[in-house]
């Protein structure tokens, strides 16, 4: 099967600052991939580029063969690092909102997850804690039947018990056709659910490998390898 995402010589500059430099990547279908790197390594820039929120300085990105456009937004389900939702909205309003925008939003699935995490449909975003807000946004994103889920720092503010539930949702929800790209610092928490990892450093890809290969070759966890490679 063809790659779901392919980028060639992808470069992004902000003025003189090089945020991403000559990135060549291809993501396979049916995989959960960790996008790992220290602060300022270009993770969010990369994610914004593939969602069409930024335009590459040079090089290109193709999702299912298309450059980011309204069509690719139908197939990519994106959880941004900052919320864009109106905080006066109730959860059920947000569900309506998503239903209007995306024909692949599965409301039943969303309601089910909401119940499992004990969140009330009539609560307003404004009245929620940071962690609960994050959960709601993740529910919205994971309830879409997309080809590619792109999660930018999805579990940072969530308590460990809910984190387990969320990781479970990620494992059980994605299909063989779909892939999940997760950017995070909490490597130890997620590494057992990852297939592959991508290390970014100063806008460059320094490593792409499967988690088991890293453990086999290095004799250590991805978390430990990360700490070593990016030691300050």
């Amino acid at each position: 099967m063809s790659a779901i995402l392919k980028c060639t010589n992808l470069t992004k500059q902000f003025g003189k600052k090089l945020a991403l430099s000559d990135v060549n990547l291809s993501l396979e279908r049916g995989k959960i991939i960790g996008l790992l790197g220290p602060n300022g390594s270009g993770k969010t820039t990369f994610i914004k580029l593939l969602n069409g929120l930024l335009v590459p300085t040079s090089g290109e990105i193709r999702i299912n063969g298309l450059t980011p456009c309204p069509q690719t937004k139908q197939t990519v389900s994106y959880l941004p690092d900052k919320t864009y939702l109106n905080d006066w909205m109730k959860v059920c309003d947000l569900f309506d909102f998503f239903e209007d925008f995306y024909n692949n939003f599965d409301r039943m699935k969303a309601v089910e997850m909401l119940q499992r995490l004990n969140i009330n449909q009539n609560d307003r975003l404004k009245s929620m804690s940071k962690g609960t807000k994050e959960k709601v946004q993740l529910i919205l994103v994971m309830s879409r039947n997309a080809d590619l889920y792109v999660l930018d720092e999805p579990i940072g503010g969530v308590d460990p018990a809910s984190r387990d539930y969320i990781l479970n949702t990620i494992i059980t929800n994605y299909s063989e056709k779909a892939s999940v790209l997760i950017s995070t610092h909490l490597i130890a928490d997620i590494e057992s659910v990852l297939d592959d990892v991508i290390f970014l450093k100063d806008g460059k890809v320094t490593l792409t490998s499967s988690v088991d290969d890293i453990r086999m070759q290095e004799g250590k966890s991805v978390d430990n390898l990360f700490r070593e490679v990016f030691k300050c």
Binding site: I171, S192, D212, R215, K220, N224
Partner: protein
């Protein structure tokens, strides 16, 4: 059932070991049907692809076989399971003996020590 995964070794290898142990100890009965990859993966909190890889390895060893229509089954070959049990026990014994020798026990002393401690 709890899955205990260490950080320094490939996950699929650890899954193979733990499922083998479950079969040998009889918690997974010979000839019985295994849960689906997805369910097993959820339970162990690992990626389904990794669980798939582990089951493929178990199939290669012969502990598990796939029935095209009805799923994955644990081998009915109790002789083979018994054999693996013995091998595993031998490994354990070897480590034990090595450690006892490091403590300065002779073979004779180890024997008497075991007999003394096993009877109660």
């Amino acid at each position: 059932m709890t899955w205990d995964l260490k950080n320094d070794r490939p996950i699929y290898i650890q899954l193979v070991e733990q499922i083998t142990l479950l079969i040998i100890s009889g918690q997974f009965e010979a000839g019985s049907r295994l849960a689906s990859v997805r369910d097993l993966a959820t339970e162990a909190r690992v990626n389904p692809n990794t669980m798939q890889k582990a089951l493929a390895e178990l199939e290669r060893i012969g502990l598990v076989h796939t029935n095209r229509t009805s799923g994955r089954f644990i081998t009915e070959d109790t002789k083979m399971i018994e054999e693996m049990k013995k091998n595993l026990a031998k490994e354990e014994l070897k480590t034990f003996l090595e450690q006892m020798k490091q403590l300065g026990f002779t073979d004779e002393e180890i024997k008497t020590f075991i007999i003394e401690n096993c009877s109660n």
